[in-house]
């Protein structure tokens, strides 16, 4: 089969992707319009709170796509992916912290409040430059990328695979969790970074800023989808899937498995970092809790529920789980953990391909077709 240009392939073959992108395109214009143009007392008005909540879900969806890229397509189950998300978030948080300037409680122009509180006299070297937006944005991508590069290089070169890899990624995020809790590290310890005022001069509390952040989240989600879709349909993507299905055979054919894995892992960490940077200004806080191993495992569940190796399925899973979490924790706080735990069991035992897989199965049944013999094997 001759390779088609990416855009042609997308329009011809990626039906799910087309639906996904269209829905996003509609939301990204309609929701801001309903918020800004429709009067507040109208039935159709979308409150800013909801816009921000949706923005939060979209950044989670982006994180889920990042994990799907490594887990669904490369078979690397990272139980520490939220760490990259949190690192991106911290880089953004540091920029927002520097923007507070002398509006903090202590009114110190040079130092953030928590440093004044700890009696620090000057800004640590690793905080230098974060008052510049472009520098902070480079760090959002660079820091998670570098960590993934070092960690992945060590792990993949030593052929740490499967369960072992999952457990050491968990150790990684746990170690970071403990480290960021320490006041001495200079990232605000237990309280993290919060009390942000504005971004690029725009007030973070203003409706227009919040709507713009939502718009950006949707835009970046679409771009991420295109990027990941482009990669997995490329030749490199084919090799990556081959590694997932038969690592040793791919190696014996002559591919350098470690390099491919590393490439995908680092890219995925960078996407997670960007998702974190979009998340922080919308929720207004970043603290060490984001590094908690529980978060990373929850993230895995989003992807599993949505359906692995589909990209849009991961995004769908993130939105479904987080919406039900918002709803259940408010309406029936007792039930939430039962529901989440039950969902885990249900998905792993009865629908290993997630919601998307279930949907495809039902569609095939309705059309009276038999299941295709050679399906995309997962693991």
């Amino acid at each position: 089969m001759a390779r088609q240009p990416f855009i042609v392939d997308f329009l011809k073959n990626d039906k799910g992707g087309k639906i996904f992108v269209s829905i996003l395109l509609v939301t990204m214009f309609v929701v801001p319009a309903l918020n800004l143009l429709v009067p507040a007392d109208s039935f159709f008005h979308v409150p800013t709170y909801t816009v921000t909540l949706l923005g939060k879900y979209l950044s989670y969806a982006m994180l889920a796509i990042a994990l799907d890229l490594v887990w669904g397509y490369c078979g690397i189950l990272s139980l520490g992916h939220a760490a990259f998300f949190a690192l991106g978030g911290y880089a953004m948080g540091m920029y927002l912290m520097r923007q507070i300037g002398d509006r903090g409680v202590y009114g110190n122009t040079e130092l953030p409040d928590f440093m004044v509180f700890l009696n620090w006299t000057e800004l640590p070297w690793y905080w230098q430059g974060f008052d510049m937006f472009w520098f902070a944005m480079i760090m959002v991508i660079l820091v998670p990328g570098l960590l993934a590069l070092v960690f992945g290089w060590l792990a993949f070169r030593a052929r740490v695979t499967g369960v072992y890899l999952s457990i050491i990624t968990q150790a990684l995020t746990y170690a970071l969790l403990l480290a960021f809790f320490m006041n001495e590290l200079g990232f605000g310890g237990n309280n993290g970074l919060t009390d942000f005022k504005d971004i690029l001069g725009y007030d973070l509390q203003a409706d227009t800023t919040r709507v713009s952040l939502f718009f950006l989240s949707a835009l970046f989600l679409i771009l991420t989808y295109f990027l990941c879709r482009f990669i997995i349909t490329s030749k490199l993507g084919r090799v990556v899937v081959a590694i997932r299905d038969a690592e040793d055979r791919t190696r014996f054919i002559g591919y350098k498995v470690e390099s491919f894995k590393l490439w995908i892992f680092v890219l995925s960490a960078m996407i997670a970092g960007v998702a974190g940077a979009l998340f922080v200004p919308q929720v207004g806080i970043i603290n060490p809790g984001e590094f908690s191993p529980l978060n990373s495992i929850e993230l895995v569940v989003w992807v599993a529920i949505g359906g692995r190796a589909t990209l849009y399925g991961a995004a769908l899973g993130a939105v479904i789980v987080n919406y039900s979490k918002s709803y259940l924790t408010a309406a029936f706080p007792e039930v939430w953990l039962f529901a989440l735990g039950g969902l885990f069991l249900l998905v792993t035992i009865f629908m290993p391909k997630g919601v998307i897989g279930l949907w495809n199965q039902m569609r095939l049944k309705l059309q009276g077709k038999k299941q295709p013999i050679a399906e995309n094997k997962i693991e």
Partner: protein, 554 residues
């Protein structure tokens, strides 16, 4: 007036020696009066009631006299009064001048009479007046409280009193200590007293005495000795004394560093035994069966809650309840384990990552279950008497009994488990199935039954570990989560499918952690251990003791 002579006088009566008191309770008088003399002739008998009554009036110096009188009254009610006075918690009712202890209840004060400990009624703050003390009185009170403590029959109280006295050594305290020493039978208290006497002898004018006592002090590990020797090294002008002091100090320092090392080692092994307990169940479920059981922590939590429930049912038999809890926790957690295996895990063999997710789901459900049944707060599990207290080797080195027993317990659990795996029929079948399932089946092993039993065994052991954890940490819904990562680290570090590896892994990680701690602090030590494991896995991806042979690449 020695302690022995004082003891002979009847309760509520005592002697007061006016001559001595007027000399300000002088040291010389005390030292001289070790043998009973004829002061009794000038004694006025004074009762507790009379002595305390005059506390409500007068100046600080008047009160000082009253306290001195009170000290000589041989009455068990004296000590609490002095203690409360020191804490500024002794009050009197303005109207009746009755002296009372107070306890704050909802804004007003519940009072109890100091005379008979009976309720004296509820009062507003402004109806009460405090018996005020100043720093001079506080100093006096502290000394007296310590000296009264020496009379206690409780070894620990007496020891604390001696330690308090050592902080301020003078002729008076030495006299008291020497009197105590004559009757004392506890060797560690005798050691403290000897150290105190040697310190006192240092200030004598006789050089030979000084040198002898410096030499004697080199055997002592009491903290005050070190301070005193350092003081001498700085102050003395005599070269021989200085030299002797330096060599004594060196001996002490080397002993302290040895015991410091031992202490780290013991703490490390103790942490290691906890790690061993939490990991050994996982070594079965994860190590032997290859099931990544994220609900392992919650199975331990079930064990801990079993202990709590048993204690609630037997509130008067705390010691017995612990021993009942151990088999019961094994059964409870084991039953949950078998259920988890039958209803969930058996559908997921060969898909380790799915198992991980499913068992994590189970862990969330179990957490919420416990939260719904017992409430979200931590439950208080009591420690049996035989586990409290500590084994004191010397004044700077002690092992608490709960560390000791948990260490022994962990080893016993490990040995039992090894015995089960090596010597029983079930163990044989477990090993057969884990090595080659098809072949085992062909030989007539019911592999499904073995799977359920193995998982139940691992889960039951987790429950037993939970009983031990209930003695160490808070029993709450989050107990499991706190330990799950540690237990995985131990199993992975030790090498999967190898109980000996788990043992070595747990102990070395525990000791490694504790030796890092003084240098880096607790949190950083933990981070360093995690980083170490991450790096270690790169070097040896299959742990310390990897599986060998054909089954490796499963």
């Amino acid at each position: 007036m020695t302690l022995s002579s004082r003891k002979n006088i009847q309760i509520l009566l005592s002697l007061i020696f006016i001559a001595m008191l007027s000399a300000g309770y002088s040291a010389a008088a005390l030292a001289d009066s070790i043998e009973p003399k004829t002061e009794t002739s000038v004694a006025i008998v004074i009762s507790f009631e009379v002595a305390t009554a005059s506390l409500t009036a007068g100046s600080y110096s008047d009160r000082e006299q009253v306290i001195k009188k009170l000290y000589t009254v041989d009455d068990e009610r004296v000590l609490p009064v002095l203690q409360q006075m020191l804490k500024s918690k002794l009050y009197y009712i303005k109207k009746t001048k009755q002296l009372v202890f107070i306890k704050k209840i909802d804004g007003s004060y519940k009072t109890t009479s100091i005379l008979n400990n009976e309720d004296a009624g509820l009062f507003e703050k402004n109806k009460l007046k405090k018996v005020k003390v100043n720093n001079k009185l506080r100093r006096l009170l502290r000394g007296y409280i310590a000296q009264l403590g020496l009379k206690s029959t409780d070894d620990a109280v007496r020891k604390a009193a001696v330690k308090q006295l050592l902080k301020n050594i003078n002729a008076e305290t030495i006299a008291v200590l020497q009197v105590l020493d004559k009757k004392e039978t506890n060797s560690s208290i005798k050691e403290l007293v000897a150290a105190g006497v040697s310190i006192w002898n240092l200030s004598s004018n006789d050089k030979a005495t000084q040198l002898a006592s410096i030499k004697a002090l080199s055997k002592s590990l009491v903290p005050e000795v070190k301070l005193k020797l350092q003081e001498i090294i700085e102050d003395t002008e005599d070269a021989t004394i200085k030299k002797a002091a330096i060599s004594s100090l060196k001996k002490i320092d080397s002993k302290i560093s040895i015991f410091g090392f031992l202490e780290n080692l013991v703490f490390g092994l103790s942490l290691g035994s906890v790690l061993l307990l939490i990991a050994v169940g996982l070594a079965i479920t994860f190590g032997v069966m290859g099931v990544i059981n994220m609900a392992h922590g919650e199975l331990m939590m079930l064990g801990a809650y079993t202990t709590f429930v048993v204690q609630q049912m037997l509130p008067n038999h705390i010691t017995a309840s612990i021993f009942i809890s151990i088999p019961l926790a094994f059964l409870v957690a084991g039953a949950f384990g078998v259920a988890i295996e039958r209803f969930v895990i058996r559908y997921l063999y060969g898909r380790p990552l799915e198992t991980l997710l499913a068992t994590f789901g189970i862990s969330l459900i179990l957490q919420q279950l416990v939260r719904s049944v017992f409430g979200p707060t931590n439950q208080a599990v009591q420690t049996p008497a035989f586990m409290s207290g500590s084994l004191e080797i010397n004044s700077i080195f002690a092992i608490t009994y709960n560390r000791l027993y948990i260490f022994i317990f962990a080893i016993v659990v490990l040995l039992l488990l090894m015995l089960i795996l090596k010597k029983t029929r079930l163990g044989l079948q477990v090993r057969a199935v884990s090595q080659n399932r098809t072949m085992a089946k062909a030989m007539g092993v019911k592999s499904e039954w073995v799977d359920a039993m193995t998982f139940g065994l691992g889960s039951g052991i987790a429950g037993v570990a939970g009983v031990a954890l209930s003695q160490l940490t808070n029993v709450g819904p989050n107990l499991g989560q706190a330990y799950i990562i540690d237990s995985f680290m131990v199993v992975v570090f030790g090498g999967v499918g190898n109980l000996l590896g788990t043992f070595v892994g747990a102990m070395s990680l525990g000791v490694f952690n504790k030796f890092l701690e003084p240098w880096s602090g607790a949190v950083l030590a933990k981070i360093l251990v995690l980083v170490f494991i991450i790096l270690f896995i790169q070097k040896r991806p299959r742990g310390l003791f990897p599986k060998k042979g054909r089954g490796v690449e499963d």
